[in-house]
Symmetry: D2
Subunit: 428 residues, 4 copies
Amino acid sequence: MTAPLDRLPDAIAASNAALRDAHQYDLDALTTKLDRRGLDIDTLIDQIAAFTIAVPSWGTGTGGTRFARFPGPGEPADILDKLDDCAVIHRLGRASPRVSLHFPWDGDDPDALRQKGDALGLGFDAVNSNTFQDQPGQAHSYKHGSLSHVSAEVRDQAVAHNLRCIEIGRAIGADALTVWVGDGTNFPGQQDFTAQLDRYLEAAQAIYAGLPYDWRVFIEHKIYEPAFYSTVVQDWGSSFLIASALGDQAQCLVDLGHHAPTVNVEMIVARLAFAGKLGGFHFNDSKYGDDDLDSGAIDPYRLFLVMREVLSAERRGMTLAHMIDQSHNVTDPIESLIVSGAEARRCYAQALIVDEDRLVAAQADNDALTASETLKAAFRTDVEPLLAEARLRSSGAIDPVAAFRRSGYRAAVTALRPAASGAGGGIV
Amino acid sequence: MTAPLDRLPDAIAASNAALRDAHQYDLDALTTKLDRRGLDIDTLIDQIAAFTIAVPSWGTGTGGTRFARFPGPGEPADILDKLDDCAVIHRLGRASPRVSLHFPWDGDDPDALRQKGDALGLGFDAVNSNTFQDQPGQAHSYKHGSLSHVSAEVRDQAVAHNLRCIEIGRAIGADALTVWVGDGTNFPGQQDFTAQLDRYLEAAQAIYAGLPYDWRVFIEHKIYEPAFYSTVVQDWGSSFLIASALGDQAQCLVDLGHHAPTVNVEMIVARLAFAGKLGGFHFNDSKYGDDDLDSGAIDPYRLFLVMREVLSAERRGMTLAHMIDQSHNVTDPIESLIVSGAEARRCYAQALIVDEDRLVAAQADNDALTASETLKAAFRTDVEPLLAEARLRSSGAIDPVAAFRRSGYRAAVTALRPAASGAGGGIV
Amino acid sequence: MTAPLDRLPDAIAASNAALRDAHQYDLDALTTKLDRRGLDIDTLIDQIAAFTIAVPSWGTGTGGTRFARFPGPGEPADILDKLDDCAVIHRLGRASPRVSLHFPWDGDDPDALRQKGDALGLGFDAVNSNTFQDQPGQAHSYKHGSLSHVSAEVRDQAVAHNLRCIEIGRAIGADALTVWVGDGTNFPGQQDFTAQLDRYLEAAQAIYAGLPYDWRVFIEHKIYEPAFYSTVVQDWGSSFLIASALGDQAQCLVDLGHHAPTVNVEMIVARLAFAGKLGGFHFNDSKYGDDDLDSGAIDPYRLFLVMREVLSAERRGMTLAHMIDQSHNVTDPIESLIVSGAEARRCYAQALIVDEDRLVAAQADNDALTASETLKAAFRTDVEPLLAEARLRSSGAIDPVAAFRRSGYRAAVTALRPAASGAGGGIV
Amino acid sequence: MTAPLDRLPDAIAASNAALRDAHQYDLDALTTKLDRRGLDIDTLIDQIAAFTIAVPSWGTGTGGTRFARFPGPGEPADILDKLDDCAVIHRLGRASPRVSLHFPWDGDDPDALRQKGDALGLGFDAVNSNTFQDQPGQAHSYKHGSLSHVSAEVRDQAVAHNLRCIEIGRAIGADALTVWVGDGTNFPGQQDFTAQLDRYLEAAQAIYAGLPYDWRVFIEHKIYEPAFYSTVVQDWGSSFLIASALGDQAQCLVDLGHHAPTVNVEMIVARLAFAGKLGGFHFNDSKYGDDDLDSGAIDPYRLFLVMREVLSAERRGMTLAHMIDQSHNVTDPIESLIVSGAEARRCYAQALIVDEDRLVAAQADNDALTASETLKAAFRTDVEPLLAEARLRSSGAIDPVAAFRRSGYRAAVTALRPAASGAGGGIV
């Protein structure tokens, strides 16, 4: 029997063969069109290929809500399975050579992780610490907080876990830690806002002190959930305050879905870049709250506008960590992660072809209509041929989801992996 | 050893003894004050005592989020434990003589339920059907919907479950069914809005056809969660459409937290009353989404304004089902349910003392300031002495939470009940 | 001196000449691409050309906020100037052969209006009544409401104005009346929600009674502004209630920006179509409130999803009135209206090319990812060549804004029209 | 004929006489109740009397929306009239001894302002600069921005106006400048976020350089309006960035209505206090956007929670500027300002009586329910007798609105002042 991962090459080849002619036609037409603007297609393809986005290990399993989790077939049983799935995603989509791990979900065996990563050709992006759940056998509960808990013992336990995450991370070649906590309150008065932040800062400083000199720590804010009246790191303002208090190695991470309704997220990205504190992203899309939907599925123009700021920051020399953070409740997670990586690249590619000269001139002239139309013109350019060509040139698939389906990977792992339980959400 | 429930009478007596003098002073002072306005204290107390609100069986256990659930000590292990806890709530707070059950969570043994209810002196309010989770051994999954699923088999299964809920409900003396489904979509295009509603309606009609002549069915809308792009019954407009299509026994249920941000919920209550389709409530409070916080904990004035509409509808002859629907993640559920019942009553009492003559005159005169001040004057009246007196006159506690803590009930059941697992939320 | 309007033909010709080759290349490439899917380009162009959208007379002047209004050069001084500007918009963009008038802003001389319209080749869409402002010499003030005012005299005055609007509308060949009122409250208690709706309904019935047999009346809802606590027709549910109470000639009008944050507007369109009460649209875009920004400027995918529902409703036989309702505060209104009409057409064109067979199959299969990608594939198709060709075939401009700027129209009218005052907003 | 202001003493005396007995009874009852908690009524009354809040000169006129402004009778014709009205507000309510002026609305004659203030016994709080409107004869337009405009000439003009405001402010005894600008964009791409902030900062530094050593400058943020896609100072994060860049004399001003929906405003207050950058407030209430409704009219508990943070900051030694910023569209502005000042004081008084020991113990114990109930207990205490007594002890009115109505002041000034025009909002 063919090992599941070994099914990919043939599937890619067969899928590409069927699509190659149409792809080439579309690429040629786009080349002609971009050439009118003096844009070189090969340069663009190289720039696109250089944009990568880490896949979250947890994202390869089916997500859930507090109401229920409905597992899919062939769910990964452990981190090794998850890394296999991540390898599938990258081999097809060529956009995600790194994986972002989450501890303790992903075990405590850095050697095994590194070996597996090496074997699959995958690297590791920022590691994530989990102090928003209790684990069996844990000494102290995080029910009432972790880094900001009133009890020093709980805070120390949470700090120690973060330091262990750094240790594992170093051993596997990561160079950043993402800290997101669920700490907050459900009732006015439950905790004092200021005292809580004081405690958080003290604990964060203890983590920061354990950071290797060449690491970064990313502070991730979120307006609500799991806390429903206040959260300790509720917005970019608090995240910025904290990262500033910690020091130069501390930066802010923007999860696109962690803001109040109507907030201009691309502007927050710009502001953090302005302040020199933009560190990275958790990409996803959302309509209501932290919906963790597939990137670009709800509001692709917003993703494009964020990518414009990303590109602008990178052009000014910033190094940003791009990661996906989504909950795939009704789709095959592998497919969603492939498509989401492609969507991020699509918007990045569209940002690359913005007519910056025309834009700058329109801004100088207060010609809002032309400025708007300049962005829209880039956004409505169908850059799919560029994305496909970037994949093709690195042995990926013109249509990665089609190739994935053709490969039979999901059925193959379903036969090998244990069935996942359909245990309910947090409600029961 | 004293059975846990038997600890209450002494605790109530002792607690009341300590508080009685101050209570009487405050009651006298309030009597004098209300007397100036010609309001009779005894009439008010009777009206307050007549306002009751059902406790949800599921609410006696600790709730959770998709991130985690942190159980508390002495969690109820089954519906019989839950009913014991409901009895505690009512004996102390005197506001919740009925329990709202949820199936299949609450088993399938109506005789046992009825017997237990009779033994505890508790009745049953609307029963709730659950088709938003899969149960072990279930033939078809609700992953992609229930009443609106594309497959007739899934819809039939969901309809059958609702009919079974009615059957159980009849056997235990309930007279209404609440239908809330998680059906919806996470992606634009995932389903056709219109076809999905057609399917929902056909299934709902099959349930309606099985409704006893003296029953009501409550349609409950929700803007989002667990579906994150669209839900089939997303707002009161759709709920009203559905209830109208079904017939006179179908009415709309308003959960205070199921609306878009900034929406005027009290106005929705008024509109449904206007349309003759207001059936009942799920009370809770919220700041961001469906936070399911304790009633009145975040915005007590909004609860008061809702209660004004409740009172207005009842004065026009409508019979409304009042139920609590909250998730108690960080408090003792018994305490939260006692306090929430009292908060609902508090706002109802404040609604009762609004100077309606002054208000109507101000409205006729377009005197917005006086109208506003008339409501505020009622709202800022501290009616706690009335609530306490209503409890006292029916053998309850002046301060029910104090009495509960004094009783040692929680410690007693903790010793008797198995420890609950701290299993995580929907995320892992 | 050349009359301003006479400058257009040469400008169009010259602008088109410069763009024709590139346009033809892009059109050919798109033809090839759509041909793969079996789509006929000529059929599509005809369907696109058949989609038209009325321009609002008031939209040709610079808009403002309550803080300020900053007029632009060459503002139209009266309705005749405004109709000239509307003619420019249509001659360049070919998407807006009708104008939506607003009374009393647009005077009281139907003959002059009709003559001018005929001379310019413009027709008239739904007329709009204004009872949210006081006019000099008006007997009663609308400060505290119009159709729902506590005073019968004020209500009668507002009804009479609506009847006069119908009269004017008949005389100029319109066949619908749009009723939007600012009625509502700023304070809880200011008015009784139910009594206010009763009064509104009675007044609306008086208007409805005056409706010619072949007319429609459109009820337009809005969640807030100018009233800030409640509005009488706050959402589609109330709009639907009202339109149902009035009768078959009453339908609901959806302004895309009149909803609570995060609300799924395309679903509301679908629900009103389901209920048989969808009448028309006020198109615009928004990020926060009723921002009245240019259509598709903020969230073009949302506009596409709305257009999908529009197309679906039209395919089921409904006749919908499409109108723009925007406030052009920082752009040349003529340019914004041209672009906005094109944006609406763009999304309509993208809706036309959705692979419906693939979509329906994906829905039947609960394949959310394919369904989503099917919509996205249509949305990211750059249909600009189709739009340009549709304009070209009816003597319009390939790039209407470029042609407009080339024409010198704005400078020409600036020389002729009086300078507009920069009077402030409502704040001073 | 009695001068309008001279009508107050008799009206106050007569009104108080009618209410004194009931007031004394309620005060005694409350004294007894608070005494149980060891709270001294005289100390509380002194603390309440020490809390003052400035009245905005512009708030004495009727406000409007972009749709319309409906003036009331006896509108102030100029700043002298406005100061008279402010004197009425303070003489009745005793909470607002200072006025916040707005230039150029309030003229350019500091001597006249100071004389009038002295004559009325009124002082002056922070002065406000207006660069969001064009004034007749102004050299450059603010249509496309002021402090952040692309043109240095426009920026210079805006800076010069701010410096003039400081000059006037010094002459009248003010010691702070509030800078709020409408700068922002309506379209993605209209301006570059970063370049715009750079320009803003440079201009702000020029203003800061002109600040007297003992002055403060308050930076006021706002999420949207009049700009509808982005604003330069969009949230507290940007405000904090700016104030930090400027220096120690720059602080942040929080307008309660300038935030995204659902945002936890009291937490922002706490965060700015934490960062040492909390400077002051614009008080009002809101349900949807920047509704500028009367303080406490919509969500009084939120106002209380804000006041808790105010009190906490003041206890830590911060000096905060309290100002009202409301738009009185449907009420008599004098009445609304009296009531709003009283509401702010009410919440401050409720904050003063929070049982801090019990609260701190509950927080330490993670007893969220007790913590919540501790705040609620203070909030539901009817402190009206304390407020009335504080007024009474300084010659004010027990019921200031009743006394105002009895005085006939409005009718008297209506007879003297010219009728205001009912000019429309920004829309026409």
